[in-house]
């Protein structure tokens, strides 16, 4: 078999995946935090202030990556849901369930930073702007997914139910977004244009792209941490988990 393909297939095997996560964690963490530090330095200290919004525009460096990730995580979850329902990959189920709270966290960040940005720009903490409203609905969809998983006691069944719900959401989210945008143009709120991204200068764009990449890696890092936990939580009786416990050294630090 093709060695690369084989390596990928092995990711679906819990007792091979777990040590791989352990080995990769420090490197992913290192790259993530270096990029994050670089992006924050360039975004907060080096990039010039926006001529219209002044220094307040710097919130963009956390708002936009979080908003972008809130949607990207959902798409990733839909792919995992498909692998659960079509190919019955168990590990995908764990990844899906681990992703939901992370997606919710990014959505929450997008909402909070959007509100804080809105205060100086619109003069109010909350405005029923199309993007903020969509994000709020997305937050409820994420919460629904992990509450559903909690409510079903048989976790195998819960994983499949959650996968189905995720796919139903995937079809619905674009429709929801379209309808909210349509509704928003019907009841135009005041001074919306101020919030639109201005034609962005290259010195402002580079930190944004770096932050975007850093946030993607943050998702990967959080996913690995949560997967590592759920892998051993799911099969406490498995031989490889028993073997982990034996050496009473501190080999479990990240």
């Amino acid at each position: 078999m093709n060695p690369i393909l084989k390596w990928c297939y092995q990711l679906a095997v819990p007792h091979i995946l777990y040590p791989r996560i352990q080995a990769w964690l420090p490197w992913v963490a290192l790259v993530t935090f270096s990029l994050l530090a670089l992006g924050l330095y360039l975004g907060l200290a080096v990039a010039p202030a926006d001529y219209q919004q002044g220094e307040a525009f710097r919130i963009i460096y956390v708002h936009v990556p979080a908003a972008w990730l809130s949607m990207a995580v959902y798409v990733a979850m839909a792919l995992m849901a498909l692998s659960v329902l079509v190919w019955r990959i168990q590990v995908a189920e764990l990844a899906l369930v681990a992703s939901a709270p992370i997606g919710a966290a990014f959505t929450l960040i997008a909402l909070i930073t959007g509100a804080i940005w809105g205060k100086p720009m619109w003069g109010a903490w909350w405005v029923w702007d199309a993007r903020l409203t969509s994000e709020l609905i997305l937050l409820f969809i994420y919460i629904g997914i992990f509450v559903l998983y909690d409510a079903i006691e048989d976790k195998r069944q819960a994983g499949k139910a959650v996968s189905l719900m995720t796919l139903v959401g995937l079809v619905n989210i674009p429709i929801i977004h379209y309808s909210v945008t349509w509704w928003n143009t019907l009841h135009q709120p005041p001074s919306l244009s101020k919030f639109d991204t201005p034609s962005i200068h290259i010195d402002m764009l580079i930190p944004l792209l770096i932050m975007l990449l850093a946030f993607k890696l943050l998702y990967l890092l959080m996913l690995m941490l949560r997967m590592r936990l759920s892998l051993i939580e799911r099969q406490p009786q498995a031989a490889w988990v028993k073997a982990l416990i034996k050496p009473a050294t501190t080999g479990d630090k990240p």
């Binding site: 329902l85 509450v147 559903l148 409510a151 069944q157 139910a161 959401g169 309808s179 349509w182």
Partner: protein, 221 residues
Amino acid sequence: MILFWRVLKQQLDLAYEHKTAWLNPLLFFALVTLLFPLALGASTSNLAAVAPGLVWITALLATLLSLETLFRDDVADGTLELWCANQPSLLVYAYAKLSAHWLLYCLPLVLISPLLAYSLHLPMVALAVLMLSLLLGSIALVWLGAIGVAITTGLKYNSFLLALLVLPFYVPVLIFGASAVEITTQGLSAAGPLYLLAALAVLAVTLAPFAVAKALKLSTS
């Protein structure tokens, strides 16, 4: 097709035996509508301004409440498991079950809505559009909601979970439905949102039964 009519008729006969069951969502609709003037004040212009949204939200909640027990009896007596044995017949079962539900619980809401809207001083010109929007919208609400009901079937305390899962998906229906009525009160044509509502209804009726069937299989296995 014969199977479809058989299940539909069986459901309607069943409802005929429990004579008053179909009244429940209707009474809920009427009673909640009565609460609005009491809370908001009876001023004609105030009520008329918010009437499209109030009627729509109340109808939406009445539909959601009525859906909750959709599959409960069939799970309890084991008939659902028999249906799940075979994919085509499960789909037919889902279609028949949902059609019966819509006829029994949503059609009465649509029919009584002009009366209730009129009591909230919604202008007469908008009454026909209100009925049409509820007619199309309630189809989408039932078929979309059924997915959530099927997934939460068998869970003990599922009312709030059902609302949490389903209400986000109801957002487009509510937006287009309430807007169609509101636009009409402003003297404009409501054709746009009505077409969009019809599209949502068609989409829900064609796609949702597959998700419902899958969810029913999951919750009975």
